[in-house]
Symmetry: C2
Subunit: 189 residues, 2 copies
DNA sequence: CTTGCGTGTGAACGTTCGTTCACTTATAAT
DNA sequence: ATTATAAGTGAACGAACGTTCACACGCAAG
């Protein structure tokens, strides 16, 4: 029953990008009085599903709009996953994106990074910067063309290295400009 | 200048999980009048950064709380990425999670799926279900133990197959119970 | 049957919201 | 210097918000 409310809040929040007002919850939960809503909300606050601002405004708390995190696969986890004994939750945006304004997503074209287990068609989260360290995977412009490779640096010398034996390292003739470093790889099935 | 406002709204929203009120924006933008805020907001609405509900409430629109998606790496993209000519944006949660309530995150332990380019330490988004198709990557319980493997099915016969030559296929002695199928792989650097 | 409690209803209340008005200050053009 | 335009201030407004009354209903225990 309380899970019904939770689910409804959940889908309302993802659809509307904000929590509903009490009046909206009335319709959402099929009540005819805001007071009935207030009691339900109070219980959800106690249960830690939602919380209130310093302004008294409703905001999603743990378990709402977040993904449950379990342990590792091999380590084994409770067969009845309903009883979430490890109740860590994560918001994917917060988990993956540090600097929202300088991060963008990119589709990987080609298999030049396949030995780093980045496949053709994978998505990549890149963060704009020109400060790369040796070993970082970067998006770089070399002699006017863009590419994704390992960034290598030894002393003054700077070059790019693919993660695929069939490709050769790239030593810039004129210019090597790092535009972003790869922070995450995402693959959808 | 307008980008300042955008950034501030952005970080307010990710921190507070809601948009600020006009009074809060006053402090946020260093105004002394709500009217000044109202004009800024109007311009941001025109610019498509934010929008208003059917209830007149402020909600984030494109570019806010979403990640910019550019084309593919090799295909090349504008060097000045500021001028976002391809203005596709994506919300990571919406992008990766279909059924929020039955999805959970799991850390990969071991390299048994390495040939599918899923590494030890990668995160995996799994969706609880028992309907797997031949070729799906699944989380399954075989004879009491949990594992992540390819799900294989030929006629009545059902078994699990690793993506690593050093591991052998698993033919269940007693029971093979699929608990979830893997919908996405996430790797952070 | 009666009592008590949980749950829902309906109305009233003060607060805060976003909007709007008249006015002032700053910037730039003539 | 004068004017026009843009941008900010401060106060006032009705509307909607969340809260809190008193009251009605249903169900289980005594």
């Amino acid at each position: 029953m309380q899970n019904d409310y939770k689910d409804k809040l959940n889908s309302f929040y993802s659809k509307n990008k904000r929590m509903p007002t009490y009046t909206e919850m009335m319709k959402l939960f099929s009540f005819k009085s805001k007071n009935a809503v207030a009691r339900v909300v109070d219980k959800m606050i106690e249960a830690g599903l939602v919380a209130k601002d310093h302004l008294g405004r409703l905001i999603p708390d743990k378990f709402l709009n977040e993904v449950v995190m379990l342990g590792s696969v091999k380590a084994g986890f409770p067969s009845d996953v309903e009883e979430q004994t490890f109740n860590d939750t994560v918001n994917l945006d917060d988990f993956l994106i540090e600097k929202k304004d300088s991060t963008y997503m990119l589709e990987v074209d080609g298999d030049s990074m396949i030995d780093a287990h980045i496949k053709n068609g994978d998505m990549v989260l890149a963060e704009r910067t020109n400060k790369a360290k040796d070993g970082d995977i970067v998006i770089a412009e070399v002699d006017g063309e863009f590419t994704m490779k390992y960034f290598k640096q030894k002393g003054d010398k700077v070059w790019l290295e693919p993660a695929n034996k069939n490709f050769k390292p790239i030593y810039p003739k004129y210019d090597l400009k790092v535009t972003a470093i790869v922070k995450a790889v995402i693959r959808k099935y």
